[in-house]
Symmetry: D2
Subunit: 283 residues, 4 copies
């Protein structure tokens, strides 16, 4: 049997689950996991279904399912879980998120193909990290070269068949053009508990305000900076004795974990967009 993931959303109405499971039965599919959510505010229904099919039946299933999907007005995707997703990692000078993602990838905790590691800093910045054969691209950015650099970045995304771009503490603001091009497939880790402390130096902002918890936020990147749909967040207790440098240090742990959870959930087909918010089916 082959293992597949189906995610969909559509206007809520009776019979959706029965129709979907009926289609699966007709193709001798076996449901391994299923989660659903009715958004009573906008009347939209969301489903994640992981199932097994007899070898070679996936194409036929998709063909038949597309008819059903049309009938219910579904936004849907179905994929073979045996084929790892293709993910590109971007980082600047701080490499704690990059190092953490690579470690989890190596242990199999993050099941993906890393198509490339890209930085505006040279390879030597990460000399202590074993990239294990993953192509590295140094794409420096300057005022003049920004457009060209983003052109190269976009081309690389296409050429590598990248499905998701992860900004793992990549400290460059993407242009609206590139953001639009990567809509729904670019995740950023922001080093604050959004919507608090948007913009630059959030840990210094947090220290100045005297908050008793700091946090980090993984979100989809949109043209509206730090306003994209939130995927995952977490916080940690801090106190009056902590300097901004302490917050930066403590924050690294939060950032690592929040980004890793967001990425793992994305790879596991658990994240669906619901307007400017997300549906994240728990694991």
């Amino acid at each position: 049997m082959s293992e597949h993931a189906l995610t969909l959303s559509c206007p809520d109405r009776p019979g959706i689950v029965n129709a979907v499971t009926g289609e699966l039965l007709r193709h001798e599919g076996n449901i391994l996991d299923a989660q659903q959510f009715d958004d009573v505010e906008n009347g939209r229904f969301f489903l994640r279904c992981v199932f097994a099919l007899p070898e070679g039946r996936f194409d036929a299933f998709q063909r038949d399912f597309s008819r059903l999907a049309t009938r219910f007005g579904m936004d849907w995707t179905a994929r073979d879980r045996g084929v790892p997703r293709r993910v590109m990692l971007l980082a600047s000078k701080f490499d704690h998120c990059l190092a953490d993602v690579l470690y989890r990838w190596r242990t199999g905790e993050l099941d993906m193909t890393v198509t490339a590691i890209v930085s505006n800093h040279p390879r030597d910045t990460f000399r202590h990290l074993d990239f294990d054969g993953i192509p590295f691209h140094h794409l420096p950015v300057g005022k003049a070269s920004k457009a060209a650099q983003e052109q190269a970045l976009g081309a690389l995304v296409d050429a590598t068949g990248t499905e998701l771009v992860v900004l793992a503490r990549y400290m460059q603001v993407l242009s609206d053009g590139l953001v639009a091009r990567l809509a729904g497939r670019c995740i950023n880790i922001h080093h604050s508990f959004l919507p608090s402390f948007k913009g630059a130096r959030p840990y210094h902002q947090a220290h100045a305000r005297g908050v008793k918890l700091i946090g980090a936020t993984a979100h989809f990147v949109t043209a509206d900076l730090d306003e994209g749909p939130i995927i995952e967040q977490d916080t940690q207790r801090v106190g009056h004795q902590h300097t901004p440098d302490d917050l930066v240090r403590i924050g690294r742990d939060i950032e690592r974990q929040v980004l890793a959870r967001a990425l793992r959930n994305w790879l596991d087909d658990r994240i669906l967009l619901n307007g400017h918010r997300t549906v994240v089916f728990g694991s």
Copy 2:
């Protein structure tokens, strides 16, 4: 429409969800929420389904569903969510859990009918609590009177049509006979992070061991003391500066919250037994 909850478990096999949703469709039911779990270790399938039916259709649905249930070998229950569950609260001298449960019941956070409040201490012990018309029964326990007291307790459970007995810091060990009689419908809050520190004075045990976190555990009561299926747990950070009395104080907050979450999940049909463990469908 009337709202209902269906919970079931049965040997896993293809077609279960499709059959269940088909039966619901035939009765013009609409699924409001559904969660499932396949226990790959024992091949058992668990389902919780909340749905709406046209008024007056519930009996017919249950009749038809029982046939389907037999076919799949299901343990199942279906109930009308419009009828609050009947819960009996037992407490001894410490009333923080009792006071907390009553407060949440009053605000509607815990949707239930409290059939009775029972204690081995007199009403005056709780003079600061407004029982709001809930019958109170003082059932003192002595070496000689224990059998008779449990007799009275069991009779009260039957007479009041109590569906769940909550030991809200009731400091009497129930006899095997009473435990058997209440099997699967009696919840206890234990003031430690089980399986650590079973038995008496767990906070003093925790202090003596020098742990850096203390906790509490809500579990079903079984003849095997402190070994029943765990429903919910939580922990809180403590330090060398905390005395056993501090742990008791800090623990009160953990106990209150853990018991309240366990009870709320039970009332919301989210807890299923899986051997000596529980399946708790998250909210």
Copy 3:
């Protein structure tokens, strides 16, 4: 022996602790607990010291200490821990914080004298709460009557010798005049993780933004609404399935705990002001 608490802040320089402990020794005092903090940013030193003195020595100690305090330019307070602080509780319609504070006061978890309970709603709003002889004052607020109501409130604070005013979900904005009058001795519990979601209906704001954690904040009240020095905060995980009403329910638990921790720390002389931030010496 009698137990006392000394809190002070002054410009940092060598010899402070030695001078303070020397003064205590001269009066045969014994230090029970001491915590200090040097704020390297502003060069200010903070100290909390709990100590025991022979009966009848406190006045003499204070007299001598005031000379030392002048020498070091100290802001300082010293008090007899045997005399409970005098605290006034204000609430509006929602009574979960009020009920929680009263419960903790009754168990001795909060060692204080409650001088009065004040509400803009009538006593019947809290009919399920046993005020246990604490005077209740119904001070309704209307557009026209606001000035008069605050006049009465301020007079009550003075008449009762209230040292701290706790806004336990008191949903009225205090005028700048009253805020100034209560400067440094008025604590509010805000139902969001400040600085996020200031102002009205923070849980609805949080839901609209799709955050994955909600929180609450206890802070000193200043003329700058929701901008006062933060004393304590905490957060709880939420998800896409939670409605604004769920957030309100989950938030009640956070509010109760955050306010209780802030109040307990204040009663235990653990909170010092450091400009627009706080120093909170942990327990």
Copy 4:
């Protein structure tokens, strides 16, 4: 000025802090941080004091302080914070803790000199880790060779002037002889929330018991396996859906963080032994 850390414990009595600070004043020392704890159960006093001295005064200070220490019956240590502690890291097959410690060491989060990395597995096991010039020693263990291996290990500890041995998921039980030799200077990370689930395969034990939280524990190694003084612990929520493998994965994050916090606190002179428990002065 040079920066130093003084830690001590002695029978509690009036005048300790005054005497210590007096000695510091005489040597023109300036206190940067100080924390104390009175254990009322055993009447013992604990102090951690970080201070600055004029260059070249440390030896004289220690000479004078030793007299004071004798007078108060102090167990004490004073050290130059400018000299990094010497730490040896031991690991077996799983390298998540080793990789994490090395990363934090590289970023400066853990200020120490790693004297050696030792494993019972060959260097190739860690081929993806950059040891950055740290000597690696492969000391395989077999039934017959255990005594010889521990002999070599002990010799290496001495030869390298190692002050602390960290068992970073080193899966060999040390003999009583070696444990005695490393008494008070060997830390282990145990992959359970002790005292629950001692011994082998704790995550499988936790899954079998159906707990709702799993944890990890950093503790000093004693002859009594998994019974040593606890330094740091933490827990994480799990559910019925998690397999033992999931617990192992989730546990890796807890282990990493708990070990890192314990090690950082040790390097920062924050951990004192108090019988079979620890005093950990918070940061």
